[in-house]
């Protein structure tokens, strides 16, 4: 357990550096591959002993020479049962594991690289779920990396695969490629213009899903949305990624157009909105998570429009995770009641958004 405190303690994951393409609208890109092992029942019907076997297989794969060649040998395998509820919650908040895995205290485990760009969930709904997370719009890069991790694991175990159905998964909604590719986008101008709904209706008609920040069933907070593919069977991985990329590029174009029209038609109102949000965050002392997310979205828009040169996008990305309840409690080192959380959240935002807090934010991360 050497890396483990870092995994949950520091906010800085590789994607938070905000150095990817289209970083002014796209926060991150993710590719997830679902895989199962031939001859073992799927996790929901599996005995704990068999669950252990899966963990062991993944552990061995990551300890192999092939893993070292891919730079994956420093990944750490951690069991849910060895982690506190708060630690698990932090991993959920960082999108490294799913809530579903966090609930599996018997056989749930994850292998995570130190830069947090690769995480392999073990005994979630499927035996193995490979996830690769990149900054900005980098779907192809994420797919390439996930593909390499997949090859590594496949070399050490036999996957459940059929020629007609592809990779077999517990839920038929994932069968085939087993791939879910998703892009996290920040669309404040489309929300202000009331056009987000129209855009999403079209996106859904094209076979894609739009969801809130924390996936299935969550509402959109802070104007951040996840767009992902629905279909996993009948299209190749490359086709799915290309189609998603096309759709996201069109959403980006719409958002940029909306930003331009806002700046030409109501410049003062936007400057005022951004300035107020920044002021409130700099001087406020109590913020609920939802309120903070809304103001942070306004500030992010300000940064994107060049109105707040003193604020660093990386700090905003870190705050997306750092202001979550799990992370705040992890930082405090104890359980916090809701009131304490709201005040600590405000303290954190104040210190990180101050012009002199920007440098120290990344230095301490």
């Amino acid at each position: 357990m050497t890396l483990f405190p870092d995994l949950t303690g520091k906010a800085l994951s590789r994607w938070m550096l905000a150095d990817g393409p289209e970083s002014d609208t796209v926060i991150s890109s993710r590719v997830r591959l679902a895989r199962n092992i031939e001859g073992l029942p799927f996790p929901h019907l599996m005995t704990p002993e068999r669950g252990e076997k899966v963990i062991e297989m993944v552990r061995r794969a990551f300890a192999s020479k092939d893993a070292a060649k891919l730079g994956l040998d420093d990944a750490e395998v951690i069991r849910m049962s060895e982690m506190s509820v708060v630690d698990r919650q932090v991993l959920v908040e960082k999108h490294l594991i799913s809530p579903n895995l966090a609930r599996n205290s018997t056989t749930g485990a994850a292998a995570i690289t130190p830069d947090e760009s690769v995480s392999v969930m073990i005994n979630e709904e499927d035996h193995i779920r490979i996830q690769c997370l990149y900054a900005g719009l980098q779907l192809r890069e994420a797919l390439y990396r996930a593909d390499r991790v997949d090859d590594l694991l496949e070399g050490k175990m036999e996957y459940a695969f059929s020629e007609n159905r592809g990779y077999l998964t517990a839920c038929p909604t994932n069968v085939g490629t087993g791939m879910r590719a998703s892009v996290m986008v920040h669309l404040p101008a489309l929300v202000i213009n009331n056009k987000a709904g129209q855009v999403f209706t079209t996106v859904v008609k094209l076979g894609f899903i739009v969801r809130g920040l924390y996936g299935e069933g969550t509402e959109a907070v802070g104007n951040i949305f996840q767009v992902s593919n629905q279909v996993t069977l009948g299209q190749s991985e490359a086709e799915i990624v290309q189609n998603l990329r096309n759709v996201v590029e069109q959403i980006i174009a719409q958002e940029k157009e909306a930003r331009e029209s806002l700046m030409s038609e109501m410049k003062e109102q936007i400057e005022d909105k951004v300035g107020r949000a920044y002021g409130i965050l700099l001087y406020g002392h109590v913020f609920s998570s939802k309120e903070a997310m809304q103001y942070l979205s306004d500030v992010r828009l300000g940064v994107d429009l060049g109105l707040l040169p003193q604020v660093n996008r990386q700090v905003l990305n870190e705050l997306l995770v750092a202001i979550r309840p799990g992370y705040l409690q992890k930082m405090a080192g104890r359980e916090l009641d809701p009131w304490e959380r709201d005040t600590m959240r405000a303290d954190l935002i104040r210190s990180r958004l101050r012009p002199d807090g920007q440098a120290s934010a990344s230095a301490s991360a």
């Binding site: 029942p41 019907l45 966090a102 839920c171 038929p172 909604t173 069968v175 076979g207 279909v231």
Partner: protein, 167 residues
Amino acid sequence: MLCQECRKRPATVHITRIVNGRKTEMSLCEQCAREKGELEFLVEPQFPIQSFLAGLLQQGAVPMLKVSGPPKCETCGLTFEEFSRTGRLGCSGCYERFGERLDPVLRRIHGSARHTGKVPARSGEAIKARRELARLREALAEAVKAEEFEKAAELRDEIKRLEKEVG
């Protein structure tokens, strides 16, 4: 009792916390509790995808429950009835066992029932060759149609070579 947050919906979640000796009590409706992050991941999502899928299967939206006798997967023991209730299959054997009964479900979800993506290297050589053959045969038919006989001859030779390899 009404939710103390929104004061509109009835309070169904009652939370008592003792943190560092300080006691706080809250009575919230589920929606506000969720928004305040009090429920977080420890509570199962209300409408996971599987329940939608199960609903789809049970309402007969997919015409396949008419097949007589509930089959059971010999490998893991899951019955088709259980699958249509939970939306989850039990093992890789279920895909084979329930075979054609899954086709309408898969077509409904994906618009297709046939995989065209990645193939694992281990078991995949033969599959890859078969796919390549199918592709070449299609190209051959097209070449013949377009009267490109030189190209067609090349394709025919390539197909013959590959057929020998596959055996």
